[in-house]
Amino acid sequence: MDLKKRVEQCLGPENLVVAMAECQGDLSVEVPKSSILDVMHLLRDTPGLGFNFLSDVFGVDNLDFNKSKKKPKEKTEEGEGVEEITTKESLPPRFEVVYLLLCLERNERLQVKVRVAEDDMEVDSLYSIWKAADWPEREAFDMYGIRFKGHPNLKRLLMWDDFPAYPLRKDYPLEGQGEERHLIYDD
Amino acid sequence: MDDWLVAIIKVVGIWVWVLLIAVVMTWVERRGAGLIQDRPGPNRAGPWGLFQPLADGIKLFTKEEIIPTKAQKFLYIIGPALFSLPAFSAYAVVPFGDKIILGGKEIILQVSDVNIGFLYILAIGSMAVYGVILGGWGSTNKYSILGGLRSTAQMVSYEVALGLALLAVVFVYGTFSLRDMSLAQQGTFLGFLPNWGIFKQPLGFILFIVAAYAEANRVPFDLPEAESEIVSGYHTEYGSMRLGLYLFGEYVNLVTISGVIVALYFGSWHLPYIDLGAYLGPISWGIVSFCIFFLKVSFFLWLFVWVRWTLPRFRYDQVMGLGWRGLIPLALFNIFITALFIQLTV
């Protein structure tokens, strides 16, 4: 049975699958943010899945992506709803956290995603399941400002401690001392 | 008056000579490393890079002397002096040849043949640790203090093994004078072996050489200056000629230790099976004995270089373990065997 069906079988009954996508053989599952710990436990412990290795955790900022995705739609709708569509509410949450899982027995990989909205930037930390989440989660916090609940040592990792901005966000300027110019996140 | 003159000539002569060997040793060390490691080593200054030590000396002398603001000035300054002074004075009782007869006067080739020469070496040798610990402490740097502490612990521990190994030698020769010991090594032993200390004290020799490497802070016992762990240990904060004194003192120590090894265990100026003194005139024998002695010394100096570029470094607990659990019991055992043997044969 292929991976997609198995994952569906495992997560589907408990309504834990928001969306599923496949790109060039890479399966990705989007799950609700609040139940990420349950999902990870299920994926790790269900026989037949056994994703027992956390390969990586990182954030993605969908600010521009959402825009560029919406644009062609605007055209098909003949100009009417330009403002409507680009308002915040209609867009999917700005950030996502991607977890790369690996099953060592069958060498299968799975991407698990959660969407993180700008007004609620807290995700449960996976540190209690995999210690490997330690630094990657710190880096996601460092670069995007996504906070991980339950992480034992959530400090900046690569930038220095009192760095005022989150540099991998899409609105962080490419030139100049961006963090000094106009970008001070105070959340 | 003549005696005074001879004494001064001997003191100055051997001082310059030891200094010269130490200078050449810095060159041998680096060229030797090059030879072992498949690379040229310093080869720009003069023929085969021979002037390299000179260039280094000029550099060290002309560099600005910096005293770190947080350092304790007095200790910081006195440290290198306390390290190199014992190194230079320890050679006083080590012979460097048999004797030479000039104008009917017999001159022994040794600065001073004191009858407690042996204890003098132990006493002066252990003085060097003050230079290290005070330098390390005075620098007020954590690496320096760690280096100083390591060095102190190591030197104090191996001093015991060193002393015990030497005690067995005293049993064998029944004297504390290094010249008398050297003289006793002429001829053969058991009919076919040269009458050298190493054949009478094989275990003692191994113990001595291991302890001596530790005393000299050489690889594999170079923890006080373990570069990869504590930067440069006790001389991290030193620069210019103060650093030079530390580095230089180390090579002078090597010369002294090699001299002691040769005098005690390797037949001093004697060649095996042949007594050249009987065939040569008094002056030429004096010169030849000097040459023989220093040929042997240079072998041990080379051994220091060879070992340095071959072995990895011990860890702190392993050094301590080797000293207290390995060398000291073995040295006591060696003393016991030696005493038993002497008791049964004499």
Binding site: C23, Q24, G25, D26, S28, F53, L54, D56, F58, V60, D61, D64, F65, S68, K69, V98, L100, L104, N107, R109, K131, A132, D134, W135, R156, L157, L158, M159, W160, P167, L174 | A33, Q37, D38, R39, K70, T140, N141, K142, Y143, I145, L146, L149, V219, P220, D222, L223, A226, E227, S228, E229, V231, T310, L311, P312, R313, R315, Y316, D317, Q318
Partner: protein
């Protein structure tokens, strides 16, 4: 006297000294920093502090075209740039659904394995230097230099190779590769042999490495270890075998595994892997020679790469472990998001666990045996 700097070596009394090691320190490769809390010589706690070489590679990637990012990947693991390049290229190829010609794959294999040898040589050599054995470093580094000669003559660069292109490789192996390789092979083997003679059965070396920073297999997997450090713990995992790419399934080679996951096992695993890499290169070159001379080296790739929107993750077995690239594309000429999964990043985060209760000297040994490269650690 300054109270902060007074040594306080109370055994178990709670009087500890904080020793700062790095970021500029002879034992720290690149710009790593460890803040160690010590009690005399033993470590109470050691916390790594990273980010001193952070250059914002991921941000750079978002603002460069797909081709332009290849030279940036050189700067990740600068001891072996070629696997970085290939890993990135493979990720883009996967995103575009490209099929790389076999000949190009073989050239990639040959070059990657050479890079693996060079990387392991540096790691083993530095491990020796950090434990006080200086000489093997020179034996190995001389041979690494010869490998770099081959890179230079193939790519024009020694360290930052910018090897290959998206969709294949840009140039064929030059004609005298066989000659050069046959000349190099015995020298590499000889240098390894000499190193083994100087180190492996050396009593001091064994005392310094066996049992030092040992790690169990479960812990290693939990912490996300990959590569030689994981194999030293006894887990037989090698992406070349488990998820074959670049025709690795056609080669016959062994995956060495250790037992205790200590410094000695990591060293031995690396030594054996070098020998296996030599075997792989021989086989790959044999296959390469069977290819027709005019076999294509590049897949059909448009001048401006605009992969379809999507997100892929592609990983390969770099000398340090699983080196993966996650690329999210929005269909434009620039990648939307590039995430690099560096192998030593995952390994180094377990550093406090690895050195718990060891001595300061072991900290240095452990660090060099992990082969932490600041370039890929900080990105």
């Amino acid at each position: 006297m300054n109270q902060n700097l007074t040594p306080q070596t109370g055994h178990g009394t709670g009087d500890y000294v904080t020793v700062n090691i790095g970021p500029s320190h002879p034992a720290m490769h690149g710009t790593l920093r460890v803040i160690a809390l010590t009690d005399g010589e033993s470590l109470i706690k050691a916390e790594p502090e990273i980010g001193y070489l952070h250059r914002g590679v991921e941000k750079l990637g978002e603002n460069l075209s797909y081709h332009q990012f290849i030279p940036i990947t050189d700067r990740l693991n600068y001891c072996s740039a070629i696997p970085n390049n290939v890993s990135y290229e493979m990720a883009v190829e996967k995103l575009m659904g490209l099929e790389v010609p076999e000949k190009a794959q073989l050239i990639r294999v040959i070059m990657m394995e050479l890079a693996r040898i060079a990387d392991h040589q540096v790691c083993v050599g530095i491990l020796g230097v950090d434990l006080g054995a200086f000489t093997p470093f020179f034996y190995l580094i001389i041979q690494r230099e010869e490998i770099y000669e081959i890179f230079e003559w193939f790519n024009g660069a020694r360290l930052t190779n910018t090897f290959g292109r998206i969709g294949g490789v840009d140039a064929d192996l030059p004609d005298d590769f066989e000659e050069r390789w046959n000349e190099l092979k015995p020298n590499v083997r000889k240098a390894n042999e000499e190193t083994e003679k100087l180190l492996t059965h050396n009593r001091i070396w064994m005392d310094r490495t066996i049992g030092v920073s040992a790690f169990s297999a479960e812990d290693a997997l939990n912490w996300g270890f990959t590569g030689p450090c994981l194999r030293a713990c006894g887990v037989k995992r090698d992406l070349r075998k488990d998820e074959p790419y670049c025709m690795y399934d056609k080669f016959d080679f062994e995956v060495p595994v250790g037992k205790n996951g200590d410094v000695f096992d990591r060293y031995i695993v690396r030594m054996i892997e070098m020998e296996q890499s030599i075997k792989i290169i021989d086989q790959a070159y044999k296959l390469y020679k069977e290819m027709p001379a005019d076999a294509p080296l590049m897949a059909r790739v448009p001048k401006v790469i605009k992969p379809p929107a999507g997100e892929v993750y592609s990983a390969l077995e770099s000398p340090n472990g699983e080196l993966g690239f996650f690329i999210k594309s929005d269909g434009s000429a620039n990648p939307y998001r590039i995430r690099i999964r560096p192998p030593c990043y995952m390994i180094y985060q377990a550093f406090p666990e690895l050195v718990k209760g060891e001595l300061i000297a072991d900290l240095v040994a452990c660090l060099s045996s992990l082969n932490v490269i600041a370039g890929e650690l900080d990105r």
